[in-house]
Symmetry: C2
Subunit: 253 residues, 2 copies
């Protein structure tokens, strides 16, 4: 399949066959991750490859008990990682200054670009993947489970395996809804209506409104799926993890 | 070319031919971006496509005057964007709770996964790309240039165009240096020596040590390329941008 076709055909897979992923396939998709662009070629990320069922069960607890975490043959945790780089500096008579927020964010970018390379390479091998947003919500527990040292923070997770079903393509906003020409043009109410009209008229949306007893799809997001209360709690937790892992020394000393 | 081959063959391109990118190619690579995974299918990112030379020149100033920003036919600024989603909520009788750090980071993940899809799709079309890490350092100026409203923060930039040269593959650490099995195994000094030995013995490294008058490659990073002083200044600037753009209300009110 042509490469862009593979990308355009992406579907998140949440149900997997028990089939093992051959070692050479696993190696190739991880190698694909390592070719992603990385700031200054520092490669300030790590990938933890978890196959052991006992550890996957612990991760499953952290990821809000989503069944796919137990079921997938492989769980990949992508981490912002300045630990390796810092250790290298220290044994090479260099004093690292990477204990700050900018360094965390730089390392997070490295980890996320590598993750998307792995996702596409996996799909090219007819594997299915799903990202777990719960990684940042539950970073502290994941740090415990995976023994992540200081200067390592998990930023996303991919479950990987052979798809047990074909969920079909998910809807997207029309392309012009997310693209701006030359500079940013803010959205008028009419434009918001137009951009969201297809999504709002879907059968899936009607079902969601009924199930959640809501008048609008936006309310399903604000009141049920991604609430301010949860977001604030997870913000505090994530900022506290960044501090604990050594990334919040943002003052010249 | 097979998809994984394209990924494994990635090189950052910093010099471009003047050739224009055909509209249908541009459209296809941006569409590839929009198929990337996105948290809860919220698509909380935007891409600003800049071709106008005057605006590119302004961006060039912000991106540390890197020549490729002026020269590339297209500059793509990928933004964490909750503005569109918030506006949608407000006109649909929903109260958005996305003015916090977790929401920013969620939106940044969306933007970065989309960026990497665009990068790969561009390379599949024989275009070359380079990421600009300066985006987060200079976010405040880029916000001004591109008129980014509240709840929009630029997180990365791609310059895109037809390559004027072939810089060859960049070195990477051996794959086992960035991969951990089951859980994280911290690095011993012997392992650090082994992982970095190939990089340290490269001719490029010898040149860098000479040019920078340093004893170790690590010192080139800590003393010249990514200094603590710069990192702290850019950390403060980025955190202040997050606050200004509305993403640092992390307390329940």
């Amino acid at each position: 399949m042509h490469i862009v076709e593979t990308i355009l055909n992406h579907k998140s897979i949440r149900s997997f066959k028990p089939d093992i992923i051959p070692a050479e396939v696993m190696n190739e998709i991880l190698a694909a991750g390592s070719r992603a662009s990385t700031t200054g070629n520092m490669q300030v990320y790590s990938v933890v490859v978890t196959k052991n069922q006992k550890i996957k069960n612990q991760l499953w607890e952290s990821h809000f008990k989503q069944e796919m975490v137990k079921q997938a043959p492989v769980v990949l945790t992508f981490c912002a990682d300045f630990n390796r780089f810092n250790k290298w500096c220290k044994v090479r008579q260099a004093v690292p200054g990477y204990d700050n927020f900018l360094s965390f964010f730089t390392a997070a970018i490295d980890a996320l670009l590598a993750a998307q390379n792995v996702a596409i390479a996996a799909e090219a091998h007819k594997l299915g993947i799903c990202y777990l947003g719960t990684t940042t919500y539950m970073a502290e527990k994941i740090i415990d489970i995976l023994n992540l040292p200081k200067f390592v923070v998990p930023v996303t997770t991919l479950v990987v395996g052979y798809p047990a079903n074909d969920p079909g393509l998910t809807d997207r906003l029309p392309l012009h809804g997310v693209i701006h020409n030359e500079t940013y043009t803010d959205y008028s109410t009419e434009q918001i209506d137009e951009i969201y009209s297809e999504k709002e008229s879907m059968e899936l949306t009607r079902q969601l409104l009924k199930e959640n007893n809501k008048e609008t799809l936006a309310q399903v997001f604000t009141d049920n799926r991604y609430t301010k209360k949860d977001n604030v709690a997870f913000s505090q937790a994530l900022l506290s993890v960044l501090k604990k892992q050594g990334f919040m020394n943002n003052e010249i000393v």
